[in-house]
Symmetry: C2
Subunit: 446 residues, 2 copies
C-alpha cells in the first residue's frame, strides 16, 4: 500500500499561513490509507441495491438508500434533485448462429437500441475488422445484412483506448444508411472474457436494432465467416419509458468561513445492469464520499463547503445538463468526478497559474500535472461548459475496461488498497482546495 | 516461443541405434513450433460445433464432425465406439435473493443435481467459509436452510488447488443429512469473474438441488448474511435422459514394424455447456492430434502404432470404464491424455527404470520427471487400473481454473504459442516412445 502511495510525499515547503493545512492534509492521507469507509460503501451499495439502471426497481431503491447512507455518514443538507429522463428497459433478448453450425451467442442489447420485430431478425452477417472499414462501404452495399464490427480495443493506462473504440458502438446509423438491418459490435472491452459489455448507443438515425457480442463470440463469428455464410437471428424486446424520472443525491460538509464557496465532487449512482456497478461507479462515489467524510470528521471543517454529489444519470447522460442548470447561480469553486475505477491514482490535474497555487498544492507536487485537465467526468461536463473550473484525478485504468458495463463489474474486481489510495489522494486534494483562497476561475489564459 | 521451449534441448547422447529417432524427434519439435494444426482444430471445433454436453444436439453433431476431421487429417481406422451414458439436461434455472434487498444471482446448476419443485425452493441461507466448517455441523442443525459453502480455491501451477476445492462441489448429501433443502457452492474457480463454473456433483445421497454461484455472488451473499437474514429462491428444472448414448472417436497412425503395439493418446470431445469447451478440452485433443498428425506426415511411421482417441464422456465420467473394457485385449504400450489446458508444458512423466529408457528419453531429459506419473487423465483411469502404463505431460495450469467449466472457456483464452509448445513436447515424446522398444509394462517396483 505505501509503495503505491510513495508519490504523495507531503513537503514542508508551504507558506507559513498554510502550514497547518498542509499538516492536516498529511494526516488525512495517512488516515485514509487505513480507512474502510469507501469499501463499506461499495460493498453495501452493490449487495443491498445491486445494479441500478434508470427505470428499474433497484434504481428507485437506490434513492432512499443514498439519502440514508449520506445522513449516516454525517453529511448535512442531504437531499434529492429530480429531473425527467427517458429510460431504456431491457427485455428478452438473444442472438444465435443458425444453419449448419448453430450456436447461441453471448450478447447484450445496447442501451436505446430499437427493438426487433417479435420473431427477431434473421440475415446473413458481414464482418468488418474495423469501424473504418465499414464506413468505407458505399451506400446500399450492406442491404439486407446484419453488420458485425469486430474491432479490438487497445489497453491503455489512461483509458484513452476507450475513446477510439467506442465510436464503433454508435455505428448503427452508419450501417443502416448502407442498408443493414441490424448492427452488432464486438464488446468494447480489453478482456478475453465471454461476458458482453453493454453501453449506450447513439447514432443520429436512422436506427436499426443493435447489440454487443462477447469478445470470443465476435471472434467466433468472424472465424466462421471466413469460410462460410453465417446467418444470425437477433431478438431484442426492449422498451422505452418516456416518463421516467432520474435523480441526483447530494450532501455537504459545510465550510467554516466561506460556506457559499462550494467544491463539488462525486461519482455516479446509476449503473448498467449486467454487473453490480462496483467499479462503474460505486467506487467513484465511494472514493469521493469517503474523502469528504474524513474531512468532515476533522476538528474544524475547511473554509469552503465540500459537496458530494451522487449523480443519477451518467449512463444515460442526463445528469450533466440537469445539474449545471439547477446550480447555475451558485459559486462553485471547482468540480471533480471519480469515474474510472479504483486502481492506483497517479496524477492530479487542475487549472494552473493562479497566484499561491504552488504553495497550496505543494503536498501533492509530485503528482500534480503541469497541464490543466482536458475534461472532468461526464456528469460535470455541463458545469465545465458553463465555465466552472475542473479538477481531475487520474487512476490507472489498465484493467478497467476488462469489466466496465459487463457482468464482471462487481466488488470482486475492486482492489481494496487501490481504493484506499484513491481516497487518500482525493482527501488531501479536496482539503487543500477547500481550505485555500485560490480562485480557480482566474486561471490565466494559456 | 523459443524461450518457453528452451527446456526441450535435444541432446546428442542417444545410443547409435536410436540416433536417427532422436534427430527425427528434434525435427518434429521444430516443425510443431510453427504448425497451426492444433489451433485450427480448436477454432473449428469451438465455432462449428460449440459446447458439447452429452444429450445435446451439438454433442450429436460432434460425432460426424470428429470422424470427418480425423479422416481429413490423414488418420486411418477412424471409427466411433458407443456406450450407454445417462445425460443430465440443463433446464430453466435461476437463483435470486428475495426480501428487502432483492437481486438476481449469477448461477449454474451442477450436473446431475436433482431439480427443484417447479415453483422453486425459497429458504434462509446459512453461509460457511469452508466445507470443513459445514461438515462440523451436527445432524439436523441445517433443517430448512439453503447452505452456501463459500470456500475460495487456491491457484497452483500444477492444478492441485482443484482437488482440495472440488470436494465442496460434491457436498449436497452432507448438507442434506444435516437437514438442508438446497446446496449452493462458490464456483470452483480462481477468477474474480462473475461467470459461474458448473461441474458434476456426486454426493452419495440423499440428494437436494445444488448449484454453483458466481464467485462475486457468493461473496455478496456472504457479505449480506453478516448483517441480515438472507433468503434465496432457487429454481432448477433439469432432467435426466437415462437412455442417452455417448461415444469415443479414434483414428490411427499405423506402426511400420509393430502395428499391434499401440500408444494411446488423446483428449476429450465432450464439454460443459456455458463456454465452447476450448481449454476443456478441445485444446487437449488438438494438441495430441496435431502431434500424431506431424508424426504421420513423416516419410516413415514409427515402429509402433499411435492411436488418437477423442473420448466422449469425460465430464460424466463414462469413457474411462467403457474404453478400458472395450480394449482389454489389446497391447497398449502406454496411454496419455492432455486435459489441463494449453499453457506451457514443463514436465513429462512416465514409468522409470526400464533398460534403455534413458537413451530413448535423452532428448527430453531436462523435463522428464524422475517420478512416474501418479495419474493420467480421467479418461485413461480405467486403462491405468487395468495395468496399462501411463504417461503424463504437465502444463502450467495457473490460469486454467479461471475459465474451466464456465462461459469464459473459449478460444480467446487459448495461448497460440503455448498450444504449439505443447504439440512440440507431445510430438517428440510420442514419437520417441512409439519408435522405441521400451516395454513400459516392465517398470521395476519402486
Amino acid at each position: 500500500m505505501f509503495r503505491k502511495f510513495a508519490v504523495l510525499a507531503v513537503a514542508a515547503l508551504a507558506m507559513p499561513s498554510f502550514a497547518g493545512s498542509v499538516e492536516t492534509a498529511a494526516q488525512l492521507r495517512d488516515k485514509a490509507l487505513t480507512d474502510t469507509t469507501a469499501w463499506n460503501i461499495v460493498e453495501t451499495l452493490t449487495s443491498e441495491v445491486g445494479p441500478r439502471p434508470i427505470g428499474s426497481a433497484s434504481y428507485a431503491r437506490s434513492r432512499d438508500w443514498a439519502v440514508a447512507k449520506l445522513k449516516a455518514l454525517g453529511f448535512t443538507n442531504v437531499h434529492v434533485e429530480t429531473f425527467p429522463e427517458p429510460a431504456w428497459i431491457r427485455g428478452a433478448e438473444s442472438a444465435e448462429i443458425v444453419g449448419a453450425h448453430p450456436q447461441k451467442l453471448a450478447m447484450l442489447g445496447l442501451g436505446f437500441s430499437v427493438p426487433t420485430p417479435k420473431g427477431g431478425i434473421e440475415a446473413p452477417v458481414v464482418v468488418f475488422g474495423s469501424y473504418a472499414e465499414m464506413l468505407a462501404q458505399p451506400p446500399g452495399s450492406l442491404t439486407g445484412k446484419i453488420v458485425l464490427v469486430n474491432q479490438p480495443m487497445t489497453r491503455t493506462q489512461d483509458g484513452t483506448g476507450y475513446g477510439s473504440a467506442v465510436e464503433a458502438r454508435n455505428g448503427d446509423s452508419e450501417a443502416a444508411k448502407r442498408g443493414a438491418v441490424a448492427y452488432l459490435v464486438r464488446s468494447i472491452s480489453t478482456s478475453t472474457n465471454r461476458s458482453p459489455h453493454t453501453g449506450w448507443t447513439g447514432g443520429p438515425g436512422p436506427h436499426i436494432p443493435c447489440a454487443a457480442l462477447g469478445v470470443p463470440d465476435a471472434d467466433m463469428v468472424a472465424a466462421l465467416a471466413r469460410h462460410e455464410t453465417v446467418r444470425i437471428r437477433l431478438k431484442l424486446q426492449s422498451t422505452v419509458d418516456q416518463k421516467a424520472v432520474a435523480f441526483d443525491v447530494s450532501g455537504e460538509i459545510k465550510g467554516r468561513e466561506k460556506p457559499d464557496e462550494i467544491v463539488v465532487i462525486g461519482g455516479h449512482l446509476d449503473s448498467w445492469d449486467p454487473g453490480t456497478g462496483a467499479i462503474d461507479d460505486a467506487a467513484g462515489l465511494a472514493i469521493t464520499t469517503a474523502a469528504a467524510k474524513l474531512i468532515g470528521d476533522l476538528p474544524a471543517h475547511p473554509r469552503r463547503t465540500i459537496r458530494v454529489v451522487w449523480w443519477g444519470s451518467e449512463e444515460n447522460g442526463g445528469s450533466s445538463e440537469a445539474y449545471a442548470k439547477a446550480h447555475a447561480g451558485e459559486h462553485i469553486v471547482i468540480a471533480g468526478e471519480s469515474d474510472l475505477g479504483a486502481d492506483h491514482a497517479y496524477k492530479v490535474a487542475l487549472p494552473q497559474g493562479m497566484p499561491g497555487l504552488d504553495e497550496v498544492m505543494a503536498p501533492l507536487k509530485t503528482i500534480v500535472s503541469p497541464e490543466p485537465p482536458h475534461h472532468g467526468g461526464s456528469d460535470i461536463a455541463g458545469l465545465q461548459e458553463a465555465g466552472v473550473p475542473i479538477l481531475a484525478v487520474s487512476e490507472d485504468a489498465s484493467r478497467y475496461f476488462d469489466y466496465h458495463h459487463s457482468a464482471d463489474d462487481t466488488l470482486a474486481v475492486v482492489d481494496p488498497d487501490g481504493l484506499k489510495q484513491n481516497v487518500a489522494v482525493w482527501a488531501s486534494l479536496v482539503y487543500l482546495v477547500a481550505d485555500s483562497d485560490i480562485d480557480f476561475h482566474k486561471a490565466p489564459a494559456k
